[in-house]
Symmetry: C2
Subunit: 219 residues, 2 copies
Amino acid sequence: MGLCGSVDLDELSALSAIGRRRTLAVGQVLAWAGDDNLLCANVVSGILKVTVSTANGREQIVGLVFAGDFVGQLFTETSSMTVTALVDSDLCVYPRERFERVLTEVSAMERMLLQRTVASLNDARERMLTLGKRGAQERVAGFLLDLVDRTAMAAPDGSISIDVPVSRGDMADFLGLTIETVSRQMTRLKALGAVALARGGRTIVVKERAALEALANPD
Amino acid sequence: MGLCGSVDLDELSALSAIGRRRTLAVGQVLAWAGDDNLLCANVVSGILKVTVSTANGREQIVGLVFAGDFVGQLFTETSSMTVTALVDSDLCVYPRERFERVLTEVSAMERMLLQRTVASLNDARERMLTLGKRGAQERVAGFLLDLVDRTAMAAPDGSISIDVPVSRGDMADFLGLTIETVSRQMTRLKALGAVALARGGRTIVVKERAALEALANPD
DNA sequence: CGGTACGTTGATATCTCTCAAAGCAGGTGG
DNA sequence: CCACCTGCTTTGAGAGATATCAACGTACCG
């Protein structure tokens, strides 16, 4: 079944040695976002939901997990998602770190690819939260903050300036908005004194990071 | 750099043997959604966008790829995403199948996990399209169709009925909508004769799949 | 010095959300 | 067996946000 059906005997026994059967009732939580990431599991029967939340408590389901599916975030120390049973469910639960150790004897490259894929997946899911639940202002401010963290350049006077590498159209597409809405939000950020614009909007000077952060994560 | 920096010498040489350097100008496309999935690549410098599209041509960026990042959909025969250069970019391109063959000598289990993670990632990205670009009607109709394909049960009279495993609230959350909007869309589907509802909306009988499909993928 | 693509701004339309109330189904206890 | 209670779903009216359509401004490039 799922994970168990497609591995060979050695690996299977290594797995079953560390796995424990566990039942979850409707509404019961397997793992909380923010807690230490101690578990991963294979779903024997039932349905679970994986959710992420905004700071002010709005919640977005980023995945549904059915029988045979694997659930858990490998390679991360802290859970960023909450896993909850939607119906009474039966799991085969593994301690995450021991589970990862079982994978240890394979080539470094596949390991790395797996890690990258996992990272991308987490990324994608975080983005779903934005697309599903955030307003235009939060999306734009959040995007700028991400850019700052990735590509910040110290300007001569010490202020932080970023070089927006994409057109307004691409930004809008990425954020699930229209060009006009993005533009209006940029104007708004400028009006609020959070940023200054140059080079036809392609260069952005962050005047008040705190203000940006407040706009990206409102209450 | 990226992929190349964290593998050992044997693997690195195996990789460089099958990789070719390639330059992409702004706007040039590395891979088209719908084409045979022949390539994957490591980005040496530049920025690419990964996009998916609706049937009627609306487009959603589901990922940005920076220097050091890996781009490509392993383990799938056909690309479902288009990869385009946002600025002049430098890549190290690999034939996908040969790249996968290099990974062949590792344990079956890590391979499988990797495949699953990749599948989840693709899933997540497809969902982003829904969240970013589809209207309420498309989201709900599409959700029902996905359910049908996963959990269809033949009713006594031959019609297809599905047992919605989640509350309206969960459905709404998953789809990035509110409960009320989902409910109104369900009512609308019923009014159009596409479905019938029972058990307080928890059981759905698909009367006209074609109608549902038309609503999920409008022009 | 245009021209062209990109960005901004404005007015209006549309869609979804929000708030509120009523309908339904299932479970519980009398 | 019925009445009631509780949670979920549906329906309604109105507010709010973003999309759309259209015009104008502005950088960059030859």
